[in-house]
C-alpha cells in the first residue's frame, strides 16, 4: 500500500478513538473510582454482586432478551423462507414493509405500543368487537409488553440476515437433495437449515445483544415488573448521579455482551 493511502483511514480511526474508545476508557476510569472522589476502589463492582436485586434483575434481563430472540426467530425464519423461496414478484414489497418501521422514530414506536396495549386501548377495543375481551387487559406495565415491543423493533434484523442467507442458497441444491431421494422435510434439515445457519446466528446476535442493553422500552412499557438492567444504569447516571456505580454496572453488562457474542459466534462455528 502506498504510504499516503494509509492516511486515508485516519479520519475514521480518529473518530472511533475520540467517540468510542476514549469514552470507554473514561467509563472504565469512573467504574473504579471511589465515591468520595479520592483514589480507586473495587467497591463499585463488589456492590453489584452483594445485592441479590441486581443479580436477579440481570437474570431477568437475560431471560427476557432470550424470549425476544426466540420469538423473533420463530417469526423470522418462516417469513424469510417464504420471501426467499416462494415469493417472486412481491418480494421487494414485503421486504419494504418489514423495513418501514426502521424509519419510524423509536419513541413514536414505543408510545404507539403504549396506546395499543393499555387498558381500554386499541387492542382491548378490537378484542371487544370480537367478543373476546376481559375487563382490563393488564398487559401494559408488564414484562410481556416490553417483550412484545422489543420483538417488534428487533425481528426485522433477523428477517433480513436469514433472508440473505436463504436467498444465496442455489435452488439446484434443494432439487439435488430431492432427486437423491430426500423428502421436503429432510431437505430442510439437511440442506436448507445448515446452509442458512450463518444467517440465523447473525440474526440472534443482532437481536439478543441490543436487547440486553435496552432501557427505553422497559422504562415506558415495563413498569416495575418489566425493568431491565439498563434502567438501573440509566437511573444511576440521570437520577442518582452515581456515575461510578453506573459505570461499573455498564462494564459488567459489556462483559456479558462480549461473552454472549463469543458463545453465539461458537454456535456458528460448529455448524459451518
Amino acid at each position: 500500500m502506498n504510504n499516503y493511502k494509509k492516511w486515508l483511514t485516519a479520519p475514521g480511526t480518529l473518530t472511533l478513538l475520540v467517540f468510542a474508545v476514549a469514552p470507554l476508557f473514561i467509563m472504565l476510569f469512573y467504574s473504579f473510582r471511589n465515591d468520595s472522589g479520592v483514589g480507586f476502589t473495587l467497591q463499585n463492582y463488589v456492590r453489584f454482586f452483594e445485592k441479590s436485586f441486581y443479580l436477579k434483575l440481570t437474570g431477568r434481563t437475560v431471560i427476557s432478551s432470550l424470549t425476544v430472540t426466540v420469538i423473533s426467530l420463530l417469526i423470522s425464519y418462516p417469513l424469510a423462507y417464504i420471501m426467499a423461496k416462494k415469493l417472486k414478484g412481491i418480494r421487494n414489497i414485503v421486504l419494504m414493509l418489514i423495513i418501514i418501521p426502521f424509519f419510524t422514530n423509536q419513541l413514536v414506536r414505543v408510545y404507539s405500543w403504549l396506546i395499543f396495549l393499555q387498558d381500554g386501548g386499541v387492542l382491548e377495543e378490537m378484542l371487544n368487537v370480537l367478543g373476546m375481551a376481559q375487563d382490563g387487559l393488564g398487559i401494559l406495565y408488564t414484562r410481556t409488553a416490553v417483550v412484545i415491543s422489543l420483538v417488534h423493533i428487533f425481528f426485522p434484523y433477523m428477517v433480513i440476515t436469514i433472508y440473505i442467507a436463504l436467498e444465496r442458497i442455489d435452488n439446484a441444491l434443494l432439487e439435488a437433495s430431492k432427486s437423491l431421494g430426500a423428502s421436503a422435510v429432510t431437505t430442510f434439515f439437511r440442506v436448507t437449515l445448515p446452509m442458512s445457519w450463518s444467517g440465523v446466528v447473525s440474526g440472534i446476535l443482532l437481536v439478543f445483544v441490543p436487547c440486553l442493553g435496552c432501557f427505553v422500552e422497559p422504562r415506558i412499557l415495563g413498569g416495575v415488573d418489566g425493568m431491565f438492567i439498563g434502567n438501573v444504569i440509566e437511573d444511576q447516571f440521570f437520577e442518582i448521579y452515581g456515575w461510578n456505580f453506573g459505570a461499573a454496572i455498564a462494564f459488567l453488562l459489556f462483559a456479558m455482551v462480549l461473552v454472549a457474542m463469543a458463545l453465539i459466534h461458537r454456535m456458528g462455528g460448529e455448524k459451518q
Partner: protein, 365 residues
C-alpha cells in the same frame, strides 16, 4: 434400469407453450442426447422427467410405471446439474453418501458403495475434501458419483459439461462415456453442443420449439437430416431453395432467386413444386478453372456450379472457401492435401458433388 417413454407431453408456462405434444422413447440402457438451441424445451423435458415441473398434459413412464404423480424423491432418478449442485457444507464423501442415507441403508453398506463409486470416478483420495477445494472436472465427477451411487432407473444430465474448458470437456466426455458404459444405465443428456451430442450418444433427439424434429443415430441425423432445421443445427450446410422446373432421374433443375441451376440430388422432387436441397461443405469437390477450361463446352455441360472464390479461411487441417455462384454464397471445405495455396481469392472454381450428398429436405411445417 428401465426405458423411459414420453407420450403427448405438453407443458405451458403462462401463455408460453414450451413442450407441444412431445413423444419420445428412450430405450433401456442407452445414452440419448436432447439437442437443441436454448428455449427448445430440452431442459424442461428433463425437469419434467425429474419431477421438478408438472406437465399440463401427457404422460411419462419409467419402465411400466406412470410417474406423473410420483413426487421427485420417490422417482429413483439420478441427476447431474449444470452447476453440479454439490452440497457445500458437506465433504465429498458425505455428498455421495447422501442419497444412500435417504434409502436407509446400513452404515457398512453405505461405506462400501461410496468407496466403490469414488474409486470408479478416480476420487478415492478426495473423500474428506469440501467441494470448493476441488477443480471443476473433479466436482463434475463427484456430482456424477453422487447421482450414480444410488443406482437410479434413469440418469439425467443437464448440460453438465458446458462449464468446463474445452480440453477438459473432451477428456470428461471420454471418461463419462466409459463410466456410463460400465454402469449400463439409461441416460438422458441435455446439451446444445452438437459435437458433444455426437461423441457421447447412442441416439440424438433434435428438438425445436417444443417438438422432436428428428431422432436417430448420430450419423443418421448428420447424413440424413429430415429437414433444413436439423441439417442447419448439426454442422454447416449450404441450402438450395427454389422451384423445380424440371426433374430427371437424378437431377433437378431448380429455379432459385439467384438464377436457375441443374443439380444432381439424392431424391428428385416433382416438377412445379417448391423444394429445398442441402449439401454439406465438406462434400463439395472444388476444382480450379483455368481460362481455357472456362470456354470448354464439356465443363459447362458437366453438372455442378461455377463460382468465384471470395474469401478463404485457413484452419490448418482444412480450408474453407466462400464461393460466390451467381450471387448465391456457397461454403466449401477442402481437406489440406499439401497444396493449400493452389486456389486463391478471385479464382474461378467448379463445384461438383456426388448425387447422394445433395439431400432433399422435407418441407418445414
Amino acid at each position: 434400469m428401465a426405458n423411459v417413454a414420453i407420450k403427448n407431453l405438453t407443458k405451458q408456462f403462462g401463455d408460453l407453450t414450451v413442450l407441444d405434444q412431445l413423444n419420445l422413447e428412450i430405450p433401456d440402457g442407452t445414452l440419448v442426447s436432447l439437442l437443441g438451441s436454448s428455449g427448445c424445451g430440452k431442459t424442461t423435458t428433463l425437469r419434467l422427467i425429474a419431477g421438478f415441473e408438472q406437465a399440463n398434459e401427457g404422460e411419462i413412464y419409467i419402465g411400466e410405471e406412470r410417474i406423473n404423480d410420483i413426487p421427485v424423491h420417490k422417482r429413483n432418478i439420478g441427476m447431474v446439474f449444470q452447476s453440479y449442485a454439490l452440497f457445500p457444507h458437506m465433504t465429498v464423501w458425505q455428498n455421495v453418501a447422501y442419497g444412500l442415507e435417504q434409502r436407509k441403508l446400513g452404515k457398512d453398506e453405505i461405506k462400501k458403495k461410496v468407496d466403490a463409486i469414488l474409486n470408479l470416478v478416480k476420487l478415492s483420495d478426495y473423500g474428506m475434501r469440501k467441494p470448493k477445494q476441488l477443480s471443476g472436472g473433479q466436482q463434475q465427477r463427484v456430482a456424477l458419483a453422487r447421482a450414480l451411487v444410488t443406482e437410479p432407473s434413469v440418469l439425467l444430465l443437464d448440460e453438465c459439461l458446458s462449464a468446463l474448458d474445452k480440453k477438459l470437456r473432451v477428456e470428461m466426455q471420454v471418461e463419462l462415456r466409459g463410466i456410463l458404459e460400465k454402469t449400463g444405465i439409461t441416460t438422458l443428456f441435455v446439451t446444445h453442443d452438437q459435437e458433444e451430442a455426437m461423441t457421447l450418444s447412442d441416439w440424438i433427439v433434435v428438438m425445436n420449439r417444443g417438438r422432436v424434429e428428428q431422432m436417430g443415430k448420430p450419423y443418421e441425423v448428420y447424413e440424413h437430416p429430415k429437414n433444413s432445421f436439423v441439417a442447419g443445427f448439426l454442422g454447416k450446410v449450404n441450402f438450395f431453395e427454389g422451384r423445380v422446373v424440371e426433374a430427371d432421374k437424378n437431377t433437378v433443375t431448380l429455379e432459385m432467386s439467384c438464377g436457375t441451376s441443374q443439380l444432381n440430388v439424392n431424391e428428385v422432387s416433382e416438377a412445379g413444386k417448391d423444394a429445398v436441397y442441402a449439401i454439406r461443405p465438406e462434400k463439395l469437390h472444388v476444382k480450379k478453372l483455368e481460362a481455357k477450361d472456362e470456354s470448354a463446352t464439356q465443363l459447362r455441360n458437366e453438372l455442378g456450379l461455377i463460382g468465384t472464390v471470395q474469401f478463404i479461411t485457413y484452419s490448418g487441417n482444412l480450408s474453407t472457401y466462400t464461393i460466390d455462384c451467381n450471387g448465391k454464397t456457397v461454403l466449401a471445405e477442402v481437406q489440406n492435401q499439401g497444396k493449400p495455396e493452389e486456389i486463391k481469392v478471385g479464382d474461378k472454381v467448379h463445384l461438383s458433388w456426388e448425387s447422394t450428398s445433395c439431400m432433399r429436405m422435407e418441407e418445414q411445417k
